[in-house]
Symmetry: C2
Subunit: 231 residues, 2 copies
């Protein structure tokens, strides 16, 4: 072996699976790419890691450049290194995810010319994505699903004040099944981590529902000490 | 953007954290490197990913070449991509772990000239390791610790028939604390996943203890349905 690195023609990229919950729907962030040969392809926000940046910094920079979002807490979840996953050569990609409170009203604005636009799309009806991005999304989504009962995912995705219907919609979206309304409420209220507020929804056309917030200390305790929430 | 990959001078490697439990001690597999400029350095088994192999295949090949072990179920757990983590240039490494039943009697035999030897070393008394391998080990060890109560780790590390003392030693090694013997046994037996055998240890100089094996179905059920084991 020489005392230098082998010459291998490969590059790293990062790809971001950003989950947001808006109007009762679980969504992820997509971009429409703008450069040949991938013009108009829909993809997860992702790009190449530069020579002189750590992969964590690259993930934050690239997400910002392609969508305008910054200051997210992103966590690495898997590295995809199959041969031929990218048509231009050997690209190994490190995938990150984040969960954020979102709103369709908040504007997404790519800084980089590589993205024509960035937008939220419901997870249940994803279009065909570039490269192996569908697989990357699915791996991230299944990770979220496994963590739903042991990590404060609902806290990260819901607004500070929320209704029990919103909470149930979130669980239903992540687990992709319906829960009985009465049982779900009974069980969730039984944990003691929901604090009923002296407030109701505003500006709704139906009968306004009560608002709740998480008692975060108690929520964390249920998630960790008691082995999680099972529905 | 050109329709080809950017020219970035970087390579991938894989590093393996292989946990084994032998004679009441939790150990990991280390190699002594054989090539300049790293001659005599102690390191995790790891090396560069070739141009034409997936990272999963690379991990299996490299572990085999450096230690002679094969057919392990290795799982990726984190990718380390800090700048300057490797003295020869930009190397991003994907770390894998595996848990195996081991025995100091089983011979380790490097195939590759890059390893002078391979050996098991107790996790509690690790020497200084090459590069950021101490950090990689610690990340893998903390992942094992978090999974101890939710994944069949004890099943993978213990021999098929084991004593309650061995089981307690394993928990103590992973959690790095002592348990009260009576409470530990009462709790473990209470789960109902230990099957008492009509057999005792053989060839021991002290009073032979009863042997147990896992009722694997019941063990998996306790780990998943009931939210895990808490000590």
């Amino acid at each position: 072996m020489e005392s230098k690195l082998p010459s291998i023609d490969s590059v790293f990229s990062v790809d971001c699976v950003i989950f947001g919950f808006d109007a009762g729907e679980l969504k992820i962030l997509l971009i429409e790419r703008n450069e040949e040969p991938f013009k108009d392809w829909l993809a997860l926000p992702g790009y190449f890691v530069e020579q002189n940046e750590s992969i964590d910094n690259a993930a934050a920079r690239i997400l910002y450049e392609l969508t305008g979002l910054n200051d997210l807490h992103m966590e690495q979840f898997h590295t995809f290194g199959e041969l031929n996953r990218h048509p231009q050569g050997r690209v190994i990609t490190v995938a990150y995810y984040a969960l954020i409170r979102t709103s369709s009203k908040k504007e997404l604005r790519p800084i980089s010319q590589y993205a024509k636009k960035a937008f939220w799309h419901p997870v249940n009806d994803l279009p065909k994505l570039a490269f192996d991005h569908t697989k990357i999304f699915e791996t991230g989504f299944s990770k979220i699903r496994r963590r739903l009962n042991t990590q404060p995912i609902a806290f990260e995705l819901l607004p500070e004040k929320f209704t029990l219907t919103q909470l149930q919609s979130l669980y239903e979206a992540i687990e992709n099944r319906k829960f009985d309304k009465r049982n779900f409420r009974k069980k969730m209220l039984g944990f003691g981590f929901l604090k009923e507020l002296n407030e109701k929804e505003k500006d709704v056309s139906y009968r306004a529902a009560k608002l709740y917030r998480f008692d975060k200390r108690r929520y964390m305790k249920v998630l960790s000490d008691e082995g999680g929430i099972e529905n």
